[in-house]
Every structure is written in structure tokens, then in C-alpha cells.
């Protein structure tokens, strides 16, 4: 209670002390996926990394108001993505764009969302990084921590009810989100119904400024599964093949009707929480540096090189090609204008109500000539 303000200077769990035996599969004897898949994972991990770097630059230069990045958490996205089927429903939070990329969402679509332009598939209704792509079974995330978790339970129950119990619903959330009401509701209900759902907790050890040990006193996140009658699996979240393995195993189980699982992917939030955050206020840099040396892309590349699957030059070429793609898409999408004013009334309901008709008519009649303030950064 009366600890001094600086107790959290050391990161709660440094890479050297991954003691609670998380699953790891960087062993060529293991049933790892084909090299082709691993290469694809790698490419998309690089894409996420470069996308995030680019987003931050766009934010710093004022082209977009806000972004969230996932530096260091790429394996938690692509390891899961690769282990799922294409029609498994995803209920992500805001650091899971890697799954959209894997599923084939174009970088132009992603970029349009960052700008909230007329091409944005959310019609400029949501802030950057809150994308959704229904055709890719990539559901919409509000911003309200945790709500998506229980949506996943519902989708999984729906699959069961509709005679498709092999179709999973997979949701993502952070360590902080495990404190939310909806985490509890979701896992409890899924446990009772044996719903084909996977609950993926990306434990990056921080919720903005709160370290995970002030978030919950439970020994691990994984152990929380027992409260809901489901297995809890703790995985090295910077080991993309471990993530892949663990998801595959739990997915298999769920598809067979054996019920849901909780996966804890242990990683670290290397970047600030978002473009608005300043971590120097609340954490020391040691932890960050330690985890940087535990980088999931570097580890995967070391593996690929060790097994002579890739050379430094080939890797370099991938980074360059992807970077070009990212820049082209974000530059191209920037040219698109914002949505027309009257679209502000669309999609409240399936049709306009009389009240909305009236408000729309008033806007169109009186206010087309106005020049309104634009852009400006989200200050936090």
C-alpha cells in the first residue's frame, strides 16, 4: 500500500524470467507448419512492423490524428492468423491488423480507414485503427474495452445453433481487458455452453500505465480459465511457432465440441500505448530494451537463417518490398476526399427515421456553404 511511486521501474516479467513454462516450439522436430506458411507469417509480421512505423509517422506529421501500434506483438497476430480457417470469425481489439492483412484485406482499405476518407469502409465513422471487414469475418471493435469478448461467445454459440460447430469465434484482448465485466461474462457463458470460441489474451504486461501485477493478483492470466471450466494455456507470445501450435491445438479441441479455451500470449508493449501516450512518465526503459532483444521478428529470422531457409539478402529484399507497398498504399489513399457531409446520417438505422430526414434536410438546405474546422490530432 505504501510502496514508493517507482516500484514499477523494472518490468514485471523480463524475458530472462519466462519461468512459468510457457509453450515454445522453436524446435524443428515439432509439428511446425510448412516452410511456406512460416514464410508467409514472416512477411506479414514484417508488414505489421512497417505499417506501424508508417502510421506513427503519419500521425507525427499530422496526416492522421491518432494511431495504435503493435511493435513487438506481431507474433501474437500472425501466429493465430495462420492457425485458423478463413471463415472463423475474428473479434479483435485495436492491435490486430495483422489478421486483417493475413486474410487479404488490402493496404488501401486499411489506409482509407486511417484517414477516415470517403473510401473508408467504415465511412469515416470510427477513429483510426478501429477497422472492420465483414467479408473477412473481421468484426468491428468499438473502443470500449472488453465488449468484443462476449460477442465472440455469442458468435460461437450461433455457429453451434446453426449446425456449424466447427466454425470458431476467436477474440483478442489485452491483459488489462481481463478486468472488464465482459471478459467474465464471455468466458463464463462460453464455458457453460461449450461454445467453439478461443479467447486470446495478448498479455503485453501494460494497460496504458498500469503494469499487469496491479491489474490482477492472479498468478497468470491463463489460470483464469479454471474459473470457467476451460483450459488456460500460457504461450511465449514472441515465439510465432509456439503461438501457432497452441492455437492449433485449442482450435482442434473446440472444433470437436470439447469447448472453448483461454490462451495467454505473453509479450511486451514495446511502443507507447498509442500515439498520444508518453511512457517515460510511468516506466523505465530497461524493460523495453530487454524485450526489444527478444523481438519476435528477429527470433523468427534467426530461425530461418539457422535452418538455411533464408539469407540476409533475401530477408532484406522482403523488408524493402513490403515497405514500398506500405508507402504506396498510404500515399495513394491520402488523396481521397472525406465522405460527403450527408453521410453522417447513414447507417444509424437500416433506413432514415423521420427525425433524421428532417435533420438531413436542414443540413443540406442551410449549411453546405460552411467551412468547418478539420483534422487536428487526438490529444491522447
Amino acid at each position: 500500500m505504501t510502496t514508493t511511486p517507482n516500484t514499477n521501474a523494472t518490468p514485471p516479467e523480463s524475458p530472462a524470467s519466462l519461468t512459468k513454462h510457457p509453450l515454445q516450439v522453436f524446435d524443428p522436430q515439432g509439428a511446425i507448419p510448412p516452410l511456406e506458411t512460416i514464410m508467409k507469417m514472416h512477411r506479414f509480421m514484417v508488414m505489421v512492423r512497417l505499417w506501424d512505423d508508417r502510421s506513427l509517422k503519419l500521425q507525427r506529421s499530422g496526416r492522421i490524428g491518432f494511431c495504435v501500434t503493435s511493435h513487438g506483438e506481431e507474433a501474437t497476430q500472425l501466429g493465430v492468423a495462420a492457425a485458423l480457417r478463413d471463415n472463423d470469425w475474428l473479434f479483435p481489439a485495436y492491435r490486430q491488423h495483422g489478421l486483417a492483412m493475413w486474410r487479404g484485406v488490402s493496404l488501401l482499405d486499411l489506409a482509407a480507414q486511417l484517414y477516415g476518407s470517403a473510401d473508408d469502409r467504415c465511412e469515416g465513422k470510427q477513429m483510426p485503427c478501429h477497422w472492420s471487414f465483414a467479408d473477412k469475418y473481421f468484426a468491428s471493435y468499438s473502443s470500449v474495452i472488453g465488449t468484443q469478448i462476449v460477442h465472440a461467445t455469442g458468435a460461437a454459440m450461433a455457429a453451434q445453433i446453426s449446425g456449424n460447430p466447427e466454425q470458431l469465434a476467436v477474440t483478442f484482448f489485452g491483459d488489462g481487458s481481463t478486468s472488464a465485466n465482459d471478459f467474465h461474462s464471455a468466458l463464463n457463458l462460453a464455458g457453460v455452453r461449450k461454445a467453439p470460441a478461443l479467447f486470446v489474451c495478448v498479455n503485453n504486461q501494460w494497460a496504458i500505465s498500469l503494469p499487469v501485477e496491479k491489474q490482477t493478483a492472479s498468478e497468470t492470466i491463463a489460470i483464469k480459465g479454471s474459473a470457467y471450466g476451460m483450459p488456460g494455456v500460457r504461450v511465449d507470445g514472441n515465439d510465432v511457432l509456439a503461438v501457432y501450435q497452441a492455437v492449433l491445438a485449442m482450435a482442434d479441441r473446440a472444433r470437436k465440441g470439447e469447448g472453448p479455451a483461454l490462451l495467454e500470449l505473453l509479450t511486451y508493449r514495446v511502443h507507447p500505448h498509442s500515439s498520444s501516450d508518453d511512457p517515460s512518465r510511468y516506466r523505465a526503459t530497461e524493460g523495453v530494451e530487454a524485450w526489444k532483444s527478444f523481438d519476435p521478428i528477429q527470433r523468427l529470422e534467426a530461425y530461418l537463417k539457422y535452418h538455411h531457409a533464408m539469407t540476409d539478402e533475401a530477408l532484406q529484399a522482403i523488408w524493402e518490398a513490403v515497405e514500398k507497398e506500405v508507402y504506396e498504399a498510404t500515399d495513394e489513399a491520402y488523396k481521397v476526399a472525406p465522405p460527403a457531409w450527408e453521410t453522417v446520417f447513414d447507417d444509424v438505422y437500416s433506413e432514415l427515421t423521420p427525425q433524421l430526414e428532417e435533420q438531413k434536410a436542414e443540413l443540406l438546405q442551410h449549411e453546405t456553404g460552411l467551412v468547418l474546422a478539420h483534422a487536428g490530432a487526438f490529444p491522447l
Binding site: N87, W89, F91, A118, D119, D120, R121, C122, E123, G124, K125, Q126, H130, S132, F133, A134, D135, Y137, A139, S140, S142, V144, T147, I149, V150, H151, A152, T153, G154, A155, A156, M157, A158, A159, Q160, I161, S162, G163, N164, Q167, A169, N181, D182, H184, S185, A186, N188, L189, V192, D346, D347, V348, Y349, S350, T353, P354, Q355
Partner: protein
């Protein structure tokens, strides 16, 4: 912008099918609101196998008010689901079901227990379509018995409609008769938007009327003219309709005055046309509701009149509501608008010059 087609996600092979035909009844025999709602649910489930019922005690127990009586026996546990004690789980999972393609019809045990699910209702159900630019939506019906008059005390008697009418993305429906309950519920289930469907539990079984046996929906967005009149317009809904009728009857008998009563019935969207036409005709208006007066739904009706029919007004717009207190237990009949209080205010309005 041309959007990618969302694939018809999957096949729907919903089990089990109904085990028997719907029970027959005589169309001429009046039924209660509980029976009418039960019938609407039965018919909706029979015609659309994607309709799923979820709630606490809705299965074998048939709901604490017996509204879902017999449905689980008929349609099976997969489609009539007894849920754990979490309104967040109920509403939140319904969002996922609706996204998947099912049509959830939720029963929350009391409207007072909508609050533990409030975030899911207001942040998710109401806004999913908007925030996804229309790519996703979660049409569903959230049913809940509401209102006082059954000695349920502060947590079994509240009227939370205004929390929802101020939330864009939701429709809000409150029937006041068995026939309306059936028709409006059918429309709500068939519609493409989320509907908060509040049922005035006080009159669940007190009033009976004839209700068609077929499944005819009643359009959402239209008020119902309860009785025509020329001297005063009274706007009300739910169990207050009957209270207003009693007051109007007395006024007719004792003072010979003709009151127009309009049951607003669908609170969102608002049927402004009916409201304004009536006020323009009578020149006097009052609103009766049982929620706390301040910032209740009646304020919106008064505001619309003040905004759009001020020239027709010959008197102030009066609201009779519950008091600005939590709902009491022993003194609930002091708290609730009763015919005598409504009558007094009617007379005040009519006397105004």
C-alpha cells in the same frame, strides 16, 4: 463507394425443428398481453428458424412472468436458452449471434436489470451498424417488463424508456394492449434494427381483448389514436393509457369535455405528425408517464410541441410524471400518476385562459 459483398456466412441448419403445431385458440375469446406476446414469439419462431430466445429462467420455468411458457418444450434448448445470471452476457452474446446471422429475442427479467447490460446496449447494440459503416449490424429485440403498480419496490418498478430514447440506433416500443403487443413485437422481430421492447407488467394480465390469430405485424413508427376528442390532447403510453382513459371518462361525464388520447406506442421513431396534428386541433396538450418527471420522455414531447406547434397552443404544455425520486415501495400508489391526479391537471389546463 462499392463495398465487398458480405458472404452469406454459412449454412443455417438449425436444430431441433418445432415438435408440434401451434396450439389453436378461438379468435373471439379475448386474451391477455402475456398470452399475446407468447403467441407472437411462437409464431415468429415457427416462421423464422433464425429466431432464438435468450434470458434468465425462460426455459422450463417459462420466464418469471410466464411469457415464454411452453416455448422451450416446443422449440428445444438450442433456440430457447436459459442464460447465466449476467445481463452483459445475454445482450453481449446476442450481438455476436446477430452478427452471425441469427435473430435474438432477449428477455431481461425486469427493465431495472437492463442497467448491468447498459454498456452493451448503448455502446454496442445501438452503434454497431453506424461504426462499421453499415457493413455489420445487430438487429435484435430486447424485451423487458417495466413500470410500477405491482408492489415490486424500487428495483422491480422502474420505467427506463428515456435512457433508450436518447440513444440513436435503438428503436423503443411500448405497447398498451394485447393486440398491439402482438403486432408490434412481430414487427420488431421482423425488422432490421435493434428494438427495446418494454412491456407494462402492471397490465400483463389485467386487460383482455380480442387479438387476431394470424401473425400480422403493426408498423413501428405510428402512434395509436385511443379516442378522438376536441378540447385537449393527452399523450401517453404503456399502463398510463388506461389511467388517462379513466380520467377522460370522468371528465366527459362530469364536465362534458372531449379529450383526445393518443397512445404514443413507438417512442423511437417518434410519430410527430400525429402529435402535432392533435395539438393543432385541440390547442391544449399534456403528457402522462410514470418515469420521474424531469428529463423523462414527456420532456421531448413537450419540447416538440414548444418547437413546432406553439401557435396553436392556448395553454401551457403540462406533464404528469412520477416524482423525481427513486421508486418507493409502500407509497407506490402515491408516486404513480393516478386518474385523480391526471383529472386535476386536465381541469387546470382546460380552465387556463
Amino acid at each position: 463507394m462499392i463495398k465487398p459483398e458480405t458472404p452469406a456466412t454459412v449454412s443455417f441448419d438449425i436444430l431441433p425443428k418445432p415438435i408440434g403445431p401451434q396450439p389453436q385458440r378461438e379468435a373471439v375469446v379475448p386474451i391477455t398481453m402475456v398470452q399475446a406476446i407468447n403467441e407472437a414469439l411462437w409464431q415468429a419462431m415457427s416462421t423464422d428458424e433464425k429466431v432464438v430466445i435468450m434470458g434468465q429462467d425462460v426455459g422450463l420455468n417459462g420466464g418469471v412472468f410466464r411469457v415464454t411458457e411452453g416455448l422451450q418444450q416446443q422449440f428445444g434448448e438450442a433456440r430457447v436458452i436459459d442464460m447465466p445470471l449476467s445481463e452483459t452476457a445475454i445482450v453481449g452474446s446476442a450481438v455476436g449471434m446477430a452478427v452471425y446471422g441469427l435473430k435474438p429475442v432477449i428477455e431481461l427479467q425486469f427493465a431495472d436489470y437492463m442497467f448491468p447490460a447498459f454498456d452493451q446496449i448503448v455502446s454496442e447494440v445501438a452503434k454497431l451498424r453506424y461504426r462499421s459503416g453499415g457493413e455489420m449490424a445487430c438487429p435484435m429485440v430486447i424485451r423487458a417488463p417495466y413500470g410500477g403498480g405491482i408492489r415490486g419496490g424500487g428495483y422491480h418498478s422502474q420505467s427506463p424508456e428515456a435512457y433508450f430514447t436518447q440513444t440513436p440506433g435503438l428503436k423503443v416500443v411500448i405497447p398498451s394492449t394485447p393486440a398491439d403487443a402482438k403486432g408490434l413485437l412481430l414487427a420488431a422481430i421482423q425488422g432490421n434494427d435493434p428494438v427495446i421492447f418494454l412491456e407494462p407488467k402492471r397490465i400483463y394480465r389485467t386487460a383482455k381483448e380480442r387479438v387476431t390469430t394470424d401473425a400480422t405485424p403493426i408498423e413501428i413508427g405510428k402512434a395509436r389514436l385511443v379516442q378522438e376528442g376536441t378540447d385537449l390532447s393527452v399523450f401517453c403510453y404503456g399502463s398510463m393509457v388506461e389511467i388517462c382513459q379513466k380520467a377522460a371518462d370522468k371528465l366527459k361525464k362530469e364536465d362534458g369535455v372531449s379529450v383526445e388520447i393518443i397512445d404514443l406506442r413507438t417512442l423511437t421513431p417518434i410519430d410527430e405528425t400525429s402529435i402535432l396534428n392533435s395539438v393543432r386541433k385541440t390547442g391544449r396538450a399534456m403528457i402522462v408517464y410514470e418515469a420521474p418527471k424531469t428529463c423523462g420522455y414527456g420532456a421531448e414531447i413537450a419540447a416538440i410541441i414548444a418547437e413546432k406547434a406553439i401557435d396553436s397552443l392556448q395553454a401551457p404544455v403540462k406533464r404528469v410524471g412520477g416524482f423525481d425520486t427513486p421508486f418507493p415501495y409502500t407509497l407506490e400508489s402515491v408516486y404513480l400518476p393516478h386518474p385523480a391526479r391526471v383529472l386535476r391537471v386536465m381541469r387546470e389546463l382546460l380552465a387556463y385562459n
